[in-house]
């Protein structure tokens, strides 16, 4: 798929701003004129850190946010302003449609995947009468490890870390970790270090048979893998908006199949049942309180629209093609150690033989304009296994990264590796 970066022309337009008085006040706002977008502009950097936050954003995302900021927000459930559509409901429908969730109002918005995981893990623990056993894998992010270790430190649970084999979690290893008191499993769907996707269908089936509450952390797969929550045997699925769903940072959430399995962990205004002193237990109010991130949710809906327009097949082809570009360039040499040569996601982690990962990242950024992520990637267990806990360099293009950019970056990385080794 050819993707062009666009010049974004900003011009001023004028709207009538009604202040409630008879006199109208003219106010000017900057606005993106999408009709005048033109191809041509190359990004100033070779940005290969999409597994952290995607960039660039699709022009439609930028335009949607810009347009929305020019008008008052219609407050979900609270206001009759009606000056714009209910962006929260629109985003909820977009997420539900994209992930094929059976119930739209079981899609809950949060600040990000970490926030969603905290809500689910804490909410589940509140509902448990006594201490319980939980299973995670060594691929987990600190957004899973820390909430569970905190519960463990408080005597609320014990945690078993299932080691991955190669880059994947073997369902049999999860089955072997089950105990009579196992009540919760939280597993990364896609590894942010190794780019591997776990078989959450097989794992979910065996956990379902044991009545274990299963949360899949889809921070790295949402927007890349085809996810059908109507069919997957999951109790909850967590997503973030700012990575491969192409929304703004500050967006994310989760889907929960049976809301009664987790208690609400935040209370406040919902725009419903205002005389009732406790948090309403209807959905989605049970897990949402306070004002939403309106611009963020508008960007999330626009990002999903871009993905739907692009199509799952094109996304899958892009992943294979981009990973292939890097892996071919990195093959046939022992100067580049790649930690997973068969990634399912556009995530490739490596170290150069004679250069510390931070030095590699510095050289790539300062000499070649290549933005990578170095060090530990908030997933300490897997680093202990693959690189002795020292960390590594991670590159992660997106479907908006042109192939030629990938080729150029791959050649630059090989050049650095060969230069260091031959010196």
């Amino acid at each position: 798929m050819e993707v062009f970066f666009h010049h974004v022309y900003i011009k001023y337009f004028t709207i009538q701003h009604f202040s409630g008085h008879a006199d109208a006040q003219r106010v000017s706002y900057p606005r993106i004129n999408t009709s005048r977008m033109k191809p041509a502009m190359e990004p100033p950097l070779i940005y290969l850190n999409n597994a952290a936050t995607s960039w660039p954003k699709p022009p439609g995302v930028i335009a949607a946010v810009n347009d929305a900021l020019a008008l008052p927000f219609g407050e979900a459930g609270r206001s009759a302003a009606g000056l714009s559509s209910d962006c929260v409901a629109d985003a909820r429908e977009a997420v539900a449609r994209y992930f094929h969730t059976p119930e739209t109002d079981h899609v809950i918005f949060s600040a990000n995947a970490t926030d969603a995981l905290n809500t689910l893990i804490s909410g589940f623990a509140i509902n448990e009468a006594g201490p319980f056993h939980a299973i995670i894998s060594d691929l987990e992010h600190n957004s899973v490890i820390r909430p569970l270790r905190t519960l463990e430190a408080g005597g609320r649970c014990s945690v078993t870390v299932v080691p991955s084999t190669g880059a994947r979690v073997d369902p049999d290893a999860v089955a072997a970790a089950l105990r009579p008191d196992t009540r919760l499993a939280v597993l990364s769907h896609g590894s942010n270090v190794l780019g591997s996707v776990q078989d959450i269908s097989a794992i979910g089936k065996l956990l379902q048979d044991e009545s274990v509450f299963f949360i899949a952390d889809g921070a790295q797969t949402a927007g890349l893998a085809q996810i059908d929550l109507g069919r997957l045997p999951l109790d909850a699925f967590v997503f973030t908006g700012h990575k491969y769903l192409f929304g703004l940072p500050g967006t994310g959430g989760f889907y929960i199949r049976a809301p009664g399995k987790a208690a609400s962990t935040r209370q406040g205004g919902t725009g419903t049942d205002s005389r009732y002193p406790l948090q309403p237990q209807g959905m989605p109010e049970k897990f949402e309180a306070g004002t939403h991130n309106y611009p963020g949710l508008i960007s999330l809906a626009a990002g999903i629209a871009f993905l739907e327009e692009t199509g799952a097949d094109a996304i899958a082809r892009s992943i294979t093609r981009q990973a292939g570009i890097f892996l071919r360039e990195f093959s046939g040499t022992d100067t580049i150690q790649v930690y997973n040569t068969n990634p399912d996601l556009p995530v490739i982690s490596f170290n150069l033989r004679d250069l510390e990962n931070e030095d590699t990242g510095f050289v790539l950024r300062r000499m070649y304009g290549i933005v990578t992520r170095t060090g530990l990637h908030c997933a300490p267990f897997i680093h202990d296994r693959i690189d002795g806990g020292h960390g590594c360099v991670r590159i992660s293009p997106s479907i908006l990264t042109p192939d030629e950019t990938c080729r150029s970056a791959a050649a630059s990385i090989r050049e650095v590796a060969d230069s260091v080794h031959s010196a």
Partner: protein
């Protein structure tokens, strides 16, 4: 040479603190030599641009591209209050500072 100001500050995932300094003039080979008493220094001239790196165990290191006006330093948090003033003085060519340890 001197540090004009701190450009960036970051608490890193491995627990260290990263600071990027704006220098009053470009970092040179002589600058690298002036810092060499502080740790194990290396200039890699074979890269696209000459690259300076210095390691001071247990957890401090610094990096610069020769010819550019910035210096990146990673500190152990406990070491920061002691090491940072020394780096300022070394870059200013303070002859008093010989062995910071």
């Amino acid at each position: 040479m001197s540090i004009v100001r701190e450009k960036n500050f970051k608490n890193c995932a491995d627990g260290r603190v990263k600071k990027e300094y704006l220098l009053s003039e470009p970092f040179t080979k002589e600058t690298a030599c002036s810092l060499s008493s502080f740790g194990s220094a290396n200039v890699m001239e074979f890269l696209k641009k000459p690259f300076f790196t210095l390691v001071r165990p247990p957890g401090m290191n610094m990096r610069a591209v020769l010819g550019e006006n910035t210096l990146e330093v990673w500190y152990e948090p406990a070491d920061l209050p002691f090491s940072e003033p020394v780096i300022y003085r070394l870059l200013e060519g303070d002859p008093v500072v010989q062995d910071p340890s």
